[in-house]
Amino acid sequence: MFKREFKINFKSLMMWSITLLAIYFLIFSIYPSLINEETKESLKLMMESMPQEILAAFNMDIVGIETVFGWFKTEGYVFLVLLGGIYSAILGSTILLKEESEKTIEFLYAKPVSRSQIVTSKILCGMLNILIFTTIITIGNWIGLHTSEDFDLKQFFMISLIPILLYNMIFFICIFISTFLKKTKKAMSLGIGIVFLSYFMQIIGGMGESIEWIKKISLFEFASSRYIVLHNHIHMTYLWVGIGIIIACIIGTYCRYEHKEFK
């Protein structure tokens, strides 16, 4: 079951990974040629003219974007977690529900296999997909970034690997939600909706102290590169809360699926 599930999802995994890598490679290759003394000056002027709140929302108040590693830690990172988040949401929304939506679940339920075995194989496959996705992107980014003059290996790995927590959270929240639904279309829209809502909550919440609480409850805060850049380590509270949410969603998924009806 696991092998088959992996095969089904492999194409999509490769498409997402290669597309994202291609975009990064394009930016990595042209970025240095765009940066010279003149553009550095105009970038500086542009940054000064922008409100502090907007700069903070993209980490540009603490990191300069004169180098490609600087770009990666700001806009590049936002791009990575947003696309990775959407990929995880699609994976989570469809991996379990697709069988019901396409009615192939009738085939599986007729086999001597328990419902928890079905959930386990799907969950493990999803987690492996996320791990492979992150590994491909991390290796690709390392190749493209390690020559950057301000490259910091420890910071790079922390920034590259912390999204695994975010992706898994989104994946398991979406899987859990999908146990309440019948059609993947609805689950996918809801999953992607959650990703965008979280993303905008983080952006908006970063614009002022009075609304900072909005940012704190955003899923994207669980993979904040800002904290890593500022403190050079991972925010442990978010890590444990994140793991807690994942465990709660896993338990919820098993319980719901055990009693779900296939009509």
């Binding site: 088959r4 089904i8 396409e102 009615k103 192939t104 009738e106 085939f107 339920y109 007729a110 086999k111 001597p112 296999v113 328990s114 419902r115 055990e258 009693h259 009806e261 296939f262 009509k263």
Partner: protein, 291 residues
């Protein structure tokens, strides 16, 4: 005789609306048990409960003396299932689909699989999404029988099969029966139920209204009578006919299931202008129950 499927007081409600109520069935080993009823009567709900796709409201289902529930999933080793609509993985070839199915069972399914493929003339190299409805059904039959289950649940098994394939399918069922396989056969096609089943349960409005041995239909005494007479009302009264199917001026069409001599004696007292007596065929008998 050993019972292979036992259903006790099975009830299923969908919210407040009724699905099935107090279904009670006992199916003996090696029999082909027909299950018929009009659309929406509860046939599929009963089957989905047996397969544990949906949760029962009350009642128990035993297969081979073991209770069906989520924990007892290994019992499915002994059950084959043929749904009315087959949904398989579109991107697989028939061969890969059958191999995938076989991978779930502890036994070697190869020999039976080969036999069935040959008998049903299945092209293993075709992709699932290239198959016609009939060919998909044939693959479904192999999937249901390849692991040589002790019990087979079939829902509208012959829909989509051409008459030639239907014949082959009936032969396969006879083979299975000879091996001692118990088959629960839900169908709309009454003639095939009469042909292959040993016993039949009729379900209507979620409840079993009749369970009959199939030979009852061979020796059934129900007659369809059409009489034209000026004294039709008196005749009907004297024959105590409750179920009049048609009444037009002096003509009445009804089902008579009483004693034949009493019938002849009664009508001989009246002036009859036209009389037609027919034996009820299986469709009429079932319609009689459905109504």
């Amino acid at each position: 005789m050993e019972s292979m499927i036992r259903i006790n007081n099975l009830t299923k409600f969908y919210g407040k609306s009724r699905g099935i109520k107090d279904i009670q069935l006992e199916i003996e080993k090696g029999t082909i048990y027909g299950f018929i009823g009009p659309n929406g009567a509860g046939k599929s709900t009963t089957i989905k409960c047996i397969m544990n796709f949906i949760n029962k409201s009350t009642g128990e289902i035993y297969v081979n003396n073991q209770i069906i529930d989520n924990k007892n999933y290994k019992l499915k080793e002994e059950i084959g299932y043929l749904p009315s609509e087959i949904h398989l993985y579109d991107n697989l070839t028939v061969k890969k689909m059958l191999d995938y199915s076989a991978s779930f069972y502890k036994k070697d399914c190869n020999q039976r699989k080969k036999d069935l493929i040959k008998k049903l003339e299945i092209d293993e190299n075709k992709r699932i999404d290239e198959l016609s409805l009939g060919n998909l059904k044939k693959v479904g039959i192999v999937l249901a029988l390849m692991h040589e289950p002790k019990v087979v649940i079939m829902d509208e098994a012959t829909s989509g099969l051409d008459p030639l394939m239907q014949e082959k399918f009936y032969e396969i069922l006879e083979e299975e029966k000879a091996k001692g396989t118990t088959i629960f056969f839900s169908s709309h096609i009454l003639s095939e139920v009469k042909r292959i089943c040993d016993k039949v349960a009729i379900i209507k409005d979620g409840q079993i209204i009749k369970i009959e041995d199939m030979d009852i239909f061979d020796k059934n005494e129900m007659l369809q009578v059409k009489i034209t007479s000026k004294e039709i009302n008196e005749i009907l009264r004297e024959l105590e006919i409750a179920n009049i199917k048609e009444m037009k001026n002096d003509e009445a069409k009804f089902i008579y299931n009483g004693e034949i001599n009493k019938f002849i004696k009664t009508i001989s007292k009246y002036s009859i202008s036209k009389l037609l007596i027919e034996e009820l065929d299986i469709e009429d008998i079932f319609m009689h129950y459905y109504e």
